[in-house]
Amino acid sequence: MNADRVLVEAVLARRAGAFERLVAEHQGLCWHILQRLVRHPEDTRELCQETFLRVHQYLHQYRYESALKSWIGRIAYAVGLRHLEKKQVPLLESDTGEATDLALLQESDGFDLEAAWADAQLRERLHAAIDALPAVQRTLLTLYHLDELAIPEIAQICGLPAGTIKSHLFRSRLRLRELLQNRFGVSA
Protein backbone atom coordinates (compact mmCIF):
# COMPACT_ATOMS: atom_id res chain seq x y z
CA MET A 1 0.00 0.00 0.00
CA ASN A 2 1.46 3.39 -0.92
CA ALA A 3 2.21 6.12 1.60
CA ASP A 4 -0.68 8.35 0.46
CA ARG A 5 -3.22 5.58 0.98
CA VAL A 6 -1.83 4.69 4.42
CA LEU A 7 -1.99 8.31 5.54
CA VAL A 8 -5.46 8.99 4.09
CA GLU A 9 -6.91 5.83 5.64
CA ALA A 10 -5.37 6.76 9.00
CA VAL A 11 -7.00 10.20 8.83
CA LEU A 12 -10.36 8.74 7.80
CA ALA A 13 -10.13 6.23 10.65
CA ARG A 14 -9.50 9.22 12.96
CA ARG A 15 -6.19 7.87 14.23
CA ALA A 16 -4.49 10.22 16.66
CA GLY A 17 -1.97 12.53 15.01
CA ALA A 18 -2.72 11.37 11.45
CA PHE A 19 -4.17 14.63 10.16
CA GLU A 20 -1.42 16.63 11.86
CA ARG A 21 1.09 14.48 9.97
CA LEU A 22 -0.75 15.12 6.70
CA VAL A 23 -0.66 18.88 7.30
CA ALA A 24 3.02 18.82 8.26
CA GLU A 25 3.87 16.88 5.08
CA HIS A 26 2.03 19.18 2.69
CA GLN A 27 2.11 22.60 4.33
CA GLY A 28 5.22 23.60 2.36
CA LEU A 29 3.55 23.07 -1.02
CA CYS A 30 0.40 24.79 0.21
CA TRP A 31 2.44 27.77 1.40
CA HIS A 32 4.31 28.01 -1.92
CA ILE A 33 1.12 28.03 -3.97
CA LEU A 34 -0.74 30.51 -1.80
CA GLN A 35 2.19 32.80 -1.06
CA ARG A 36 2.99 33.03 -4.77
CA LEU A 37 -0.65 33.71 -5.62
CA VAL A 38 -1.59 36.24 -2.93
CA ARG A 39 1.85 37.55 -1.76
CA HIS A 40 0.46 38.66 1.58
CA PRO A 41 1.79 36.60 4.54
CA GLU A 42 -1.24 37.12 6.80
CA ASP A 43 -3.71 36.22 4.02
CA THR A 44 -1.51 33.27 3.05
CA ARG A 45 -1.62 31.88 6.59
CA GLU A 46 -5.40 32.16 6.73
CA LEU A 47 -5.83 30.61 3.30
CA CYS A 48 -3.45 27.75 4.22
CA GLN A 49 -5.63 27.04 7.23
CA GLU A 50 -8.80 27.21 5.09
CA THR A 51 -7.20 24.81 2.60
CA PHE A 52 -6.46 22.18 5.22
CA LEU A 53 -9.89 22.51 6.81
CA ARG A 54 -11.36 21.77 3.38
CA VAL A 55 -8.94 18.88 2.91
CA HIS A 56 -10.15 17.40 6.19
CA GLN A 57 -13.80 17.94 5.26
CA TYR A 58 -13.57 16.40 1.78
CA LEU A 59 -10.83 13.79 2.23
CA HIS A 60 -13.42 11.00 1.99
CA GLN A 61 -13.95 12.11 -1.64
CA TYR A 62 -10.26 11.61 -2.57
CA ARG A 63 -10.14 8.68 -5.03
CA TYR A 64 -6.35 8.16 -5.38
CA GLU A 65 -6.56 9.16 -9.08
CA SER A 66 -3.72 11.63 -8.54
CA ALA A 67 -1.03 11.94 -5.88
CA LEU A 68 -2.34 13.31 -2.58
CA LYS A 69 0.12 16.19 -3.03
CA SER A 70 -1.57 17.19 -6.31
CA TRP A 71 -5.06 16.85 -4.81
CA ILE A 72 -4.15 19.12 -1.88
CA GLY A 73 -2.34 21.49 -4.25
CA ARG A 74 -5.49 21.74 -6.38
CA ILE A 75 -7.54 22.74 -3.34
CA ALA A 76 -4.93 25.34 -2.29
CA TYR A 77 -4.83 26.73 -5.83
CA ALA A 78 -8.64 26.99 -5.98
CA VAL A 79 -8.75 28.69 -2.57
CA GLY A 80 -6.07 31.17 -3.66
CA LEU A 81 -7.73 31.92 -7.02
CA ARG A 82 -11.08 32.55 -5.35
CA HIS A 83 -9.40 34.97 -2.95
CA LEU A 84 -7.79 36.87 -5.83
CA GLU A 85 -11.03 36.93 -7.81
CA LYS A 86 -12.86 38.40 -4.81
CA LYS A 87 -10.21 41.11 -4.66
CA GLN A 88 -10.41 41.51 -8.45
CA VAL A 89 -6.69 40.91 -8.88
CA PRO A 90 -5.79 39.98 -12.50
CA LEU A 91 -4.50 36.41 -12.67
CA LEU A 92 -2.83 36.53 -16.05
CA GLU A 93 -1.64 39.24 -18.38
CA SER A 94 -3.91 40.00 -21.30
CA ASP A 95 -1.01 39.79 -23.77
CA THR A 96 0.42 36.46 -22.62
CA GLY A 97 0.36 35.18 -26.15
CA GLU A 98 2.98 37.66 -27.27
CA ALA A 99 6.48 36.42 -26.69
CA THR A 100 9.61 38.51 -26.47
CA ASP A 101 11.28 38.83 -29.84
CA LEU A 102 13.98 36.21 -29.63
CA ALA A 103 15.98 37.94 -32.35
CA LEU A 104 16.57 40.84 -29.95
CA LEU A 105 17.79 38.53 -27.23
CA GLN A 106 21.12 36.90 -27.78
CA GLU A 107 21.93 33.54 -26.34
CA SER A 108 25.54 34.13 -25.46
CA ASP A 109 26.66 36.36 -22.62
CA GLY A 110 30.01 37.30 -21.27
CA PHE A 111 29.61 37.66 -17.56
CA ASP A 112 30.81 35.59 -14.67
CA LEU A 113 27.97 33.62 -13.13
CA GLU A 114 29.35 33.41 -9.60
CA ALA A 115 30.24 37.12 -9.52
CA ALA A 116 26.73 38.00 -10.69
CA TRP A 117 25.19 35.67 -8.13
CA ALA A 118 27.24 37.28 -5.38
CA ASP A 119 25.79 40.68 -6.33
CA ALA A 120 23.02 41.04 -3.72
CA GLN A 121 21.42 43.94 -5.55
CA LEU A 122 21.18 41.99 -8.77
CA ARG A 123 19.59 39.03 -6.96
CA GLU A 124 17.19 41.33 -5.21
CA ARG A 125 16.11 42.81 -8.52
CA LEU A 126 15.75 39.40 -10.06
CA HIS A 127 13.49 38.32 -7.19
CA ALA A 128 11.52 41.55 -7.50
CA ALA A 129 11.05 40.75 -11.20
CA ILE A 130 9.79 37.25 -10.33
CA ASP A 131 7.44 38.79 -7.79
CA ALA A 132 6.16 41.28 -10.37
CA LEU A 133 5.04 38.51 -12.74
CA PRO A 134 1.28 37.85 -12.86
CA ALA A 135 -0.05 35.56 -10.12
CA VAL A 136 -0.47 32.42 -12.21
CA GLN A 137 2.91 32.70 -13.94
CA ARG A 138 4.89 33.13 -10.73
CA THR A 139 3.00 30.21 -9.17
CA LEU A 140 3.80 27.98 -12.14
CA LEU A 141 7.48 28.94 -11.91
CA THR A 142 7.59 28.08 -8.20
CA LEU A 143 5.83 24.74 -8.65
CA TYR A 144 8.18 23.79 -11.47
CA HIS A 145 11.49 25.08 -10.12
CA LEU A 146 11.16 25.02 -6.35
CA ASP A 147 8.78 22.13 -5.75
CA GLU A 148 10.23 20.33 -8.77
CA LEU A 149 6.84 19.12 -9.96
CA ALA A 150 6.56 17.80 -13.49
CA ILE A 151 4.35 19.68 -15.97
CA PRO A 152 1.58 16.99 -15.86
CA GLU A 153 1.47 17.29 -12.05
CA ILE A 154 1.23 21.09 -12.31
CA ALA A 155 -1.56 20.62 -14.87
CA GLN A 156 -3.49 18.57 -12.30
CA ILE A 157 -3.10 21.30 -9.69
CA CYS A 158 -3.90 24.29 -11.89
CA GLY A 159 -6.28 22.70 -14.37
CA LEU A 160 -4.36 24.19 -17.29
CA PRO A 161 -3.30 22.25 -20.41
CA ALA A 162 0.31 21.04 -20.29
CA GLY A 163 1.17 23.05 -23.43
CA THR A 164 -0.11 26.24 -21.85
CA ILE A 165 1.97 25.64 -18.73
CA LYS A 166 5.04 25.08 -20.88
CA SER A 167 4.36 28.34 -22.74
CA HIS A 168 3.94 30.26 -19.50
CA LEU A 169 7.18 28.84 -18.08
CA PHE A 170 9.00 29.62 -21.30
CA ARG A 171 7.75 33.21 -21.56
CA SER A 172 8.27 34.02 -17.87
CA ARG A 173 11.87 32.77 -17.93
CA LEU A 174 12.50 34.57 -21.19
CA ARG A 175 11.24 37.77 -19.64
CA LEU A 176 13.54 37.35 -16.62
CA ARG A 177 16.51 36.81 -18.90
CA GLU A 178 15.49 39.85 -20.90
CA LEU A 179 15.43 41.89 -17.68
CA LEU A 180 18.94 40.70 -16.90
CA GLN A 181 20.06 41.88 -20.29
CA ASN A 182 18.20 45.17 -20.53
CA ARG A 183 17.94 46.55 -17.03
CA PHE A 184 20.78 45.27 -14.98
CA GLY A 185 23.60 45.90 -17.38
CA VAL A 186 24.41 42.26 -17.97
CA SER A 187 25.87 42.05 -21.42
CA ALA A 188 24.11 39.42 -23.43
Partner: protein, 144 residues
Protein backbone atom coordinates in the same frame (compact mmCIF):
# COMPACT_ATOMS: atom_id res chain seq x y z
CA UNK B 1 -8.21 30.65 -19.06
CA UNK B 2 -6.47 31.25 -22.38
CA UNK B 3 -4.77 28.31 -24.07
CA UNK B 4 -1.45 29.47 -25.47
CA UNK B 5 -0.16 28.38 -28.89
CA UNK B 6 2.68 25.82 -29.03
CA UNK B 7 6.25 27.07 -29.21
CA UNK B 8 7.89 27.76 -32.56
CA UNK B 9 11.12 25.89 -33.46
CA UNK B 10 13.12 29.00 -32.50
CA UNK B 11 11.35 29.16 -29.15
CA UNK B 12 11.89 25.43 -28.65
CA UNK B 13 15.63 26.05 -28.89
CA UNK B 14 15.39 28.74 -26.20
CA UNK B 15 13.28 26.31 -24.12
CA UNK B 16 15.98 23.63 -24.45
CA UNK B 17 18.61 26.05 -23.13
CA UNK B 18 16.35 27.03 -20.24
CA UNK B 19 15.85 23.35 -19.37
CA UNK B 20 19.55 22.59 -19.59
CA UNK B 21 20.24 25.44 -17.17
CA UNK B 22 17.82 23.81 -14.70
CA UNK B 23 19.58 20.45 -15.04
CA UNK B 24 22.98 22.07 -14.47
CA UNK B 25 21.78 24.00 -11.43
CA UNK B 26 20.14 20.84 -10.10
CA UNK B 27 23.44 18.97 -10.49
CA UNK B 28 22.01 16.65 -13.16
CA UNK B 29 24.16 17.85 -16.08
CA UNK B 30 27.62 19.25 -16.74
CA UNK B 31 27.97 23.03 -17.02
CA UNK B 32 28.65 23.12 -20.73
CA UNK B 33 27.44 25.45 -23.45
CA UNK B 34 24.76 27.18 -21.44
CA UNK B 35 25.23 30.93 -21.07
CA UNK B 36 25.35 32.37 -17.55
CA UNK B 37 22.09 34.34 -17.81
CA UNK B 38 20.06 31.12 -18.20
CA UNK B 39 21.73 29.64 -15.14
CA UNK B 40 21.28 32.84 -13.15
CA UNK B 41 17.53 32.75 -13.82
CA UNK B 42 17.33 29.02 -13.00
CA UNK B 43 19.30 29.55 -9.78
CA UNK B 44 17.11 32.45 -8.64
CA UNK B 45 13.97 30.40 -9.29
CA UNK B 46 15.30 27.55 -7.15
CA UNK B 47 15.89 29.78 -4.13
CA UNK B 48 13.61 28.68 -1.28
CA UNK B 49 10.74 30.87 -0.19
CA UNK B 50 10.80 31.56 3.54
CA UNK B 51 8.03 29.52 5.15
CA UNK B 52 5.80 31.96 7.00
CA UNK B 53 3.76 29.43 8.92
CA UNK B 54 4.04 29.61 12.71
CA UNK B 55 5.46 26.75 14.78
CA UNK B 56 2.79 24.21 15.63
CA UNK B 57 0.66 25.21 12.63
CA UNK B 58 -0.02 21.58 11.71
CA UNK B 59 -1.08 20.69 15.25
CA UNK B 60 -3.36 23.71 15.57
CA UNK B 61 -5.04 23.17 12.19
CA UNK B 62 -5.50 19.46 12.94
CA UNK B 63 -7.22 20.26 16.25
CA UNK B 64 -9.46 22.82 14.61
CA UNK B 65 -10.40 20.45 11.77
CA UNK B 66 -11.22 17.64 14.20
CA UNK B 67 -13.34 19.97 16.32
CA UNK B 68 -15.21 21.22 13.24
CA UNK B 69 -15.82 17.63 12.08
CA UNK B 70 -17.23 16.71 15.49
CA UNK B 71 -19.62 19.65 15.37
CA UNK B 72 -20.61 18.74 11.81
CA UNK B 73 -21.43 15.19 12.92
CA UNK B 74 -23.52 16.40 15.87
CA UNK B 75 -25.67 18.83 13.91
CA UNK B 76 -27.92 16.27 12.13
CA UNK B 77 -28.58 14.48 15.43
CA UNK B 78 -29.46 17.77 17.10
CA UNK B 79 -31.79 18.70 14.25
CA UNK B 80 -33.66 15.39 14.59
CA UNK B 81 -34.13 15.96 18.33
CA UNK B 82 -35.33 19.53 17.69
CA UNK B 83 -37.79 18.36 15.01
CA UNK B 84 -39.19 15.62 17.27
CA UNK B 85 -39.64 18.13 20.10
CA UNK B 86 -41.41 20.55 17.73
CA UNK B 87 -43.72 17.77 16.49
CA UNK B 88 -44.48 16.71 20.05
CA UNK B 89 -45.21 20.32 21.09
CA UNK B 90 -47.51 20.77 18.07
CA UNK B 91 -49.34 17.55 19.00
CA UNK B 92 -49.85 18.68 22.61
CA UNK B 93 -50.99 22.14 21.43
CA UNK B 94 -53.43 20.50 18.98
CA UNK B 95 -54.85 18.30 21.73
CA UNK B 96 -55.25 21.26 24.09
CA UNK B 97 -56.90 23.48 21.48
CA UNK B 98 -58.95 20.98 19.49
CA UNK B 99 -59.09 17.94 21.80
CA UNK B 100 -62.60 18.61 23.07
CA UNK B 101 -63.96 18.82 19.51
CA UNK B 102 -62.15 15.62 18.46
CA UNK B 103 -63.52 13.77 21.51
CA UNK B 104 -67.04 14.94 20.77
CA UNK B 105 -66.71 13.77 17.16
CA UNK B 106 -65.42 10.38 18.31
CA UNK B 107 -68.23 9.93 20.78
CA UNK B 108 -70.74 10.87 18.07
CA UNK B 109 -69.53 7.96 15.93
CA UNK B 110 -69.78 5.42 18.78
CA UNK B 111 -73.52 4.69 18.49
CA UNK B 112 -72.95 3.36 14.99
CA UNK B 113 -70.32 0.86 16.18
CA UNK B 114 -72.75 -1.82 17.40
CA UNK B 115 -74.14 -2.04 13.86
CA UNK B 116 -70.69 -2.98 12.62
CA UNK B 117 -69.86 -5.50 15.33
CA UNK B 118 -73.15 -7.36 15.47
CA UNK B 119 -74.54 -9.91 13.07
CA UNK B 120 -72.50 -10.67 9.94
CA UNK B 121 -69.81 -8.09 10.82
CA UNK B 122 -69.15 -9.76 14.17
CA UNK B 123 -69.09 -13.16 12.54
CA UNK B 124 -66.56 -11.95 9.98
CA UNK B 125 -64.30 -10.52 12.67
CA UNK B 126 -64.49 -13.76 14.67
CA UNK B 127 -63.71 -15.77 11.55
CA UNK B 128 -60.60 -13.67 10.78
CA UNK B 129 -59.46 -13.98 14.40
CA UNK B 130 -59.92 -17.75 14.39
CA UNK B 131 -58.12 -18.13 11.06
CA UNK B 132 -55.07 -16.27 12.37
CA UNK B 133 -55.01 -17.80 15.82
CA UNK B 134 -53.09 -21.06 15.00
CA UNK B 135 -50.75 -19.13 12.64
CA UNK B 136 -49.73 -16.71 15.39
CA UNK B 137 -49.30 -19.55 17.87
CA UNK B 138 -47.22 -21.56 15.36
CA UNK B 139 -44.97 -18.58 14.66
CA UNK B 140 -44.38 -17.92 18.34
CA UNK B 141 -43.64 -21.60 19.02
CA UNK B 142 -41.30 -21.65 15.97
CA UNK B 143 -39.25 -18.84 17.46
CA UNK B 144 -38.79 -20.81 20.64
Amino acid sequence: MTTLPPLSPEQEREWTLQQRAIDIEGGRADAENVPASYRLVARALREPLPLGLPDGFARRVARRAERAALLDARWPQRWIVVLLLVLFALGVAGLVLEGAGWLAGLLATLPSLPRVVNGWGLLLLLGIGAAHWPLGRGASSGKQ
